[in-house]
Symmetry: C2
Subunit: 314 residues, 2 copies
């Protein structure tokens, strides 16, 4: 697939090219971590970019695999970091979409066992999806604990309170072939400050895949499902008019490819341009789906294009 | 590879054939769980078989991927369940062999970070291998906890006290490419009573492999290393004279194949004969290494052969 403005593959673009791209697209999908902020720090200029797009009548949505917060909590974060034009309807998180999937797609009947944070449970609750509530009993073991009846799905996400017992219970529920096995996302790890890393949902999912001998259905990027949620909410979304902007080749760029969107890698997060070039030069065709159409240093590179447009309209 | 007494592949053997096999082999390797006992219950007749072999001057060793107990604790279990002829030198566990590997093969300098039970740490201690000692601090997080300096290996085993923080710390240590990454074994799960299952070391290892982007070195079966430990301790072990008896195709039978040993599946544990036949009939050549040469219902099927031998010698 060739990008609209050049041969596909890591095209580093600037001023006029960015301006053409802004003219050509009317739907912008942004990943959050590493794209518009890093932790509690907004990427410099990102809030202005988002505001300018919205003011110009572009559709803007946020597509995040971060499943630790419910959407209303995200909205607070957007406000706190200066993204004051953002509304709840623009936020698509893997936890929100997991709740939609369970409620609307598979119409789960029975309880969901959650390996994940409170934010994930909160999304289920808001969607009216029943889940197993349990008190932490530090003395309980998989040998003698109670297993909840009627568990019809195991949903895995990032879980900073993971214990062996949770893993073991989930493994037991998954022995029932009628119990669904879902993961919010397959992100392997996330960067922390000081060079530390945080195992992601993909790490916990792998543990359960091995223990159960099953493969999880992935809700978040790079699976297409989040784009289906967006298309349901915003009728008439044309993939050809969309730009997916992200910082991770294996999730964001692949998600864009899977959904038929043009893709842009921003270098303020996890992936480096050299990795993208390696994928581009790879002999494995599958790797080409990980190659962004465009690359920018930061989404703040959009700003001069808006200024030009402003000057023209003055 | 053809077994000594027939075309290779799931040969169910009885009386006279077992007697010929007992005559032909002088070194018997037994897995423990599912072969000589299940949990705290000895397989009926297993203790007699072990005694009879030892009395007849056969070498008998126990090769277990169970890494939760130190060897002296295993010895108590052998006694408790009636295997009173067994000595410490006959017991090769994946935790013991992990300690040998760290001390004698890679000669680790620095501390080992253990994701595992106290039994695993005890083996390291007895081998003089230093490991990170840490108090459980329920308030600590990967964002603010102290990481130990000089960690030169992460060793993963079954860990019923696994927490997210342990996984996260291990992931951080593994960012250093000079930090070794070992697992006692890759067993995916273990059966519990009542149809429950216990995630195995392989499940936790998978979580860390995904989080670190690295592959762990496997110490236990099906890796050859445990057989190397046996060969070091018992000089002159001839693989052609060995019989590996186990209950799991993916670990025990593959271990035997990898080490050039004849293999016997006993049906008192995890794997079923149908699974072995599927592997035998598979078009994937690699699957043929999982096929046992011989199959018995239980190792108590050895007993009539001894009785015949007794009658002859009377």
């Amino acid at each position: 697939m060739a990008g609209a403005f050049g041969f596909k593959g890591c095209q580093k673009i600037r001023g006029p090219q960015i301006r053409s791209l802004l003219d050509a697209k009317d739907f912008f999908l942004f990943d959050c971590d590493g794209v518009i902020w890093n932790g509690e720090k907004a990427i410099c200029g990102a809030a202005k970019v988002v505001s300018a797009l919205i003011r110009r009548g572009k559709n803007v949505v946020f597509v995040t695999n971060n499943c630790t917060r419910p959407r209303d909590n995200y909205l607070h974060k957007f406000y706190r970091l200066g993204f004051t034009d953002v509304t709840l309807e623009q936020i698509f998180s893997s936890s929100y979409c997991s709740a939609l999937y369970l409620r609307d797609v598979v119409k789960v009947r029975g309880q969901v066992f959650v390996v994940g944070c409170d934010g994930l449970r909160r999304e289920l609750q808001q969607a009216g999806v029943a889940f197993v509530e349990e008190a932490d009993d530090p003395e309980a073991t998989i040998y003698d604990c109670v297993l909840a009846p009627g568990v019809k799905a195991v949903l895995v996400g990032h879980d900073n309170k993971l214990t062996f017992l949770k893993l073991a219970k989930a493994s037991c529920y998954l022995k029932d072939p009628e119990c669904l096995f879902l993961t919010t996302d397959n992100d392997p790890w996330h960067p922390l400050s000081g060079g530390r890393i945080l195992p992601g949902s993909g790490s916990l999912t792998a543990a359960l895949e091995v223990a159960s001998g099953r493969k999880a259905t992935v809700i978040g990027k790079p699976s297409r499902f989040m784009f289906e949620c967006i298309s349901t909410q915003f009728s008439g979304v044309d993939p050809a008019q969309c730009l997916m902007v992200g910082d991770r080749l294996e999730t964001d760029m692949l998600f864009g490819s899977n959904c038929g969107l043009d893709t842009m890698l921003t270098l303020t997060g996890v992936s480096q341009i050299e990795e993208a070039q390696e994928y581009r030069n790879s002999e494995l065709t599958a790797n080409h789906s990980l190659v962004p159409d465009y690359v920018v240093d930061t989404i703040a590179d959009f700003l001069p294009a808006f200024e030009e447009l402003n000057e023209q309209s003055n």
